[in-house]
């Protein structure tokens, strides 16, 4: 075959690729791309989290009774029950008091959190064995909450949005609900260097969170059995699994009451020492 023949065939090939169908498909792809881009700009990651923040702020005034079951990799399990009291605390952000009811070793152990702003928190813990209230450094907030796969931070209110960067990675459904999948990155390095979060589009609550330490998933939290309670979407069953150790914690909300409007007396060191009594 001569060079001219080769060139004609090559021209023919090029021509065949640009059929009207292919051009139409290309336009659709371009349109979709622009549509997604326009949509992403309409709802940024920060805006998604603004909605989540709004819902979580509504949850602050509450009393919750919780059962936590800790599962070992080997199948052993331990059960903890606790009561959590929360309060929106203008001009502060919020206050939280958590008191263990069982097991016997942890009975009346408690911790108190004062969030002056959504970023600035003070933590205290009380251990009846020592009869003393101890201040806990705020850096401990990502530590395990009494052996469970939850952290102290999980029992606090919503975070300060300015401390994180948000970007929407994609949209997909999880547990049958349409979600935004948002990457959340703390601006200051914490134990978890980033989070991939599935946020339900219709309720603005978390459905799933992957907690990353650098490139590896450290733990995964899944939020299920979402009910609307007193107008607030509330996941009543939470599972957090440590992907490194295989340890898992299931948290069931046995009862929850919102709009409790507790007085400030409940959120004092004295109250912490008296197990909220």
């Amino acid at each position: 075959m001569n060079e001219a023949g080769k060139g004609q065939r090559a021209e023919g090939k090029r021509y065949r690729q640009l059929t009207p169908e292919i051009l139409w498909a290309g336009c659709m792809v371009l349109f979709s791309f622009f549509a997604i881009t326009i949509s992403a700009h309409a709802m940024s990651g920060r805006e998604v989290y603004g909605k989540v923040h709004e819902v979580r702020s509504k949850m602050l005034d509450r009393k919750t009774e919780v059962t936590m079951v800790l599962f070992d990799k080997g199948g052993g399990k331990r059960t903890r029950t606790l009561v959590e009291y929360g309060k929106k605390a203008e001009p502060e952000a919020y206050k939280v008091l958590v008191v263990f009811k069982s097991p016997p070793d942890l009975k009346d152990v408690g911790f108190l959190m004062f969030a002056h702003t959504f970023a600035d928190r003070d933590l205290w813990a009380y251990f009846p064995e020592y009869k003393r209230v101890r201040r806990i450094p705020t850096t401990s907030q990502d530590d395990s909450f009494f052996g469970s796969d939850f952290t102290y931070d999980d029992f606090g209110g919503p975070p300060n949005l300015d401390d994180y960067k948000f970007s929407i990675l994609k949209e997909e459904s999880f547990d049958g609900r349409a979600c935004y999948v948002v990457e959340v990155t703390p601006k200051i390095r914490r134990k978890y260097t980033r989070y991939i979060v599935w946020v339900a589009k219709d309720l603005w609550v978390h459905l799933k969170i992957d907690y990353y330490q650098d490139k590896e998933i450290y733990r995964t939290g899944v939020f299920r059995n979402i009910k609307i309670i007193e107008g607030i979407p509330t996941p009543l069953f939470l599972t957090v699994e440590n992907r490194k150790t295989g340890h898992r914690t299931e948290l069931t909300i046995e009862s929850i009451k919102y709009h409790t409007h507790f007085t400030d007396d409940l959120f004092t060191q004295r109250s912490l020492e008296r197990a909220g009594k």
Binding site: D72, T79, P104, R135, G147, T268
Partner: protein
């Protein structure tokens, strides 16, 4: 009250008939049902879980402890068994709290001194087993900012671990030295207390109307910790009789009063005032008496616990700095008493039968105490606590055993493993002035929500009169099994 001393009764009245009580001619009741009673109470402990309901909150704990002494010439200890029962009425304006403990104390030398089933508030030597004790038993009245309590109470003032400088209200039970936790060492004192809270301020006032003494192990028991009498214990068939002290009269004038003002903030701080008897043991020499009897030699070791009034004014504070939780305490105490070096007490070098008057061995001085502690979370589940404290004896004569500056350094490394299913602790204490110290390591394994087991090893070193060195023959390994509900 269940009390009576069979030794006050004639011989024929000392023996019990199948658990029945007898009354001796002196009118004292001989309690012969102790073991049965304790058995019933322990059964109550274990069945109390069924009694818990909406009206009462009941929890409890059963604890079996075995000790292996590592020194062959150490005083031995039998296994111990302890039951604890806590009962609370539901929170309301008026509420009742009870914390009852009881069991069998293996550190008591048998036959046990038979004086009371319930631990008393007017005796230093209470080596009774089986035993019962109300660690706490009080009625509370709560109003908006005010809480009043009346009954047997324990208080925790100050911030330091192990030896808080301002924590003086409850005397300690030294019958296991400091192997018990700080709160377990404290003897509940019948007292009145008030707590007033307003915003970030809190005021605590405590009045213990009747003086309560500390408790010591009998001189020939494992944790007596009086080194000078070790030579006496080697006298064949020696029976060391403790001198029960003449306690200060139990009048209001000899009561204890404490006041604490706290402020919560970025730095939390408190001012403390204490006036009453010093809860830290000091002994007064009398005469060494060695009295041979048919089949035994009665020995009066020649010292008796002594009690002195003191006043202390102190301050404590806590703050968080970065990854550290910092704590500090200081106090100036007026009129504290100390013992002289034991070689100056005047014990004869080779004791034989007779009466040997001993030299005065106490000296009074003001002291200044201060200390700092830091809790540092190295990584998650690994917590290091370091503490340094010092006592300055203001007017110290050369005869005192304590130095002008007495330092105590503590370190504790707590590590949780397997999501807190296993807890290990390494605890070190060191006094550089006398070169004495203690190393304690323990590990707990949590089987279920109710069962856990632990192993502990403790080693002491130092000269005989030093804080830890006096127990240098008490190195031991402990095994403990706990059931709680």
């Amino acid at each position: 009250m269940l009390r009576g001393d069979p030794r006050d009764c004639p011989d024929d009245m000392r023996t019990c008939d199948d658990g029945k009580q007898k009354v001796c001619p002196y009118g004292k009741i001989v309690i012969c049902m102790k073991k049965q009673l304790v058995t019933v109470i322990l059964l109550l402990f274990s069945s109390s879980a069924c009694l818990a309901g909406d009206f009462l909150s009941i929890s409890g704990r059963l604890d079996l402890l075995g000790v292996v002494a590592l020194e062959s010439d150490s005083i031995m200890e039998d296994p111990s068994f302890t039951g604890r029962l806590k009962i609370d009425t539901p929170p309301s304006k008026w509420s009742l709290h009870s914390w009852l403990e009881g069991g069998w104390d293996g550190s008591v030398k048998l036959p046990a001194k038979d004086h009371s089933l319930l631990k008393l508030y007017d005796e230093v030597y209470q080596s009774n087993t089986p035993w019962l004790e109300f660690k706490e038993f009080y009625l509370s009245f709560s109003a908006k900012d005010l809480e009043l309590r009346a009954g047997v109470q324990r208080y925790s003032w100050g911030r330091l671990d192990e030896y808080p400088i301002n924590d003086l209200l409850n005397p300690w039970d030294y019958t296991r030295f400091i192997l018990r936790t700080l709160e377990d060492r404290k003897i509940g004192a019948p007292s009145l207390s008030a707590n007033l809270n307003k915003d970030n301020w809190s005021l605590d006032a405590v009045w213990i109307p009747r003086f309560v003494p500390y408790r010591l192990a009998m001189p020939d028991e494992r944790w007596s910790g009086v080194p000078g009498i070790s030579a006496l214990l080697h006298i064949p068939n020696a029976e060391v009789i403790p001198d029960e002290p003449n306690l200060p009269s139990r009048t209001f004038n000899n009561g204890v009063f404490g006041l604490r003002v706290r402020h919560a903030g970025e730095i939390e701080w408190a001012l403390n005032f204490f006036h009453g008897y010093d809860p830290r043991p000091v002994v007064k020499t009398t005469s060494l008496v060695i009295n041979p009897q048919p089949g035994k030699v009665l020995v009066d070791a020649g010292y008796v616990p002594d009690f002195h009034k003191m006043t202390s004014i102190g301050m404590d504070a806590a703050a968080v700095k970065g990854d550290c939780s910092l704590r500090a305490e200081t106090a100036y105490s007026f009129n504290r008493w100390f013992n002289t070096r034991q070689e100056l007490w005047g014990y004869p070098p080779s004791p034989g039968p007779g009466v040997f008057p001993l030299n005065p061995n106490e000296h009074k001085s003001d002291t200044l105490d201060y200390g700092v502690a830091a809790d540092y979370r190295i990584i998650e589940d690994v917590l290091l606590t370091m503490q340094a404290q010092q006592t300055v004896v203001i007017h110290r004569p050369d005869t005192l055993y304590v130095r002008q500056f007495e330092t105590l350094l503590w370190a504790n490394l707590k590590v949780f493993w397997m999501n807190q299913k296993v807890e290990t602790n390494l605890n070190l204490a060191y006094n550089p002035e006398h070169g004495d110290g203690m190393a304690k390591a323990n590990a707990w394994y949590i089987f279920t929500d109710s069962w856990k087991a632990g192993l502990m090893m403790v080693v002491f070193t130092g000269p005989p009169q030093s804080m830890f060195g006096r127990f240098s023959k008490n190195d031991q390994v402990e095994a403990e099994l706990v059931y709680s509900w």
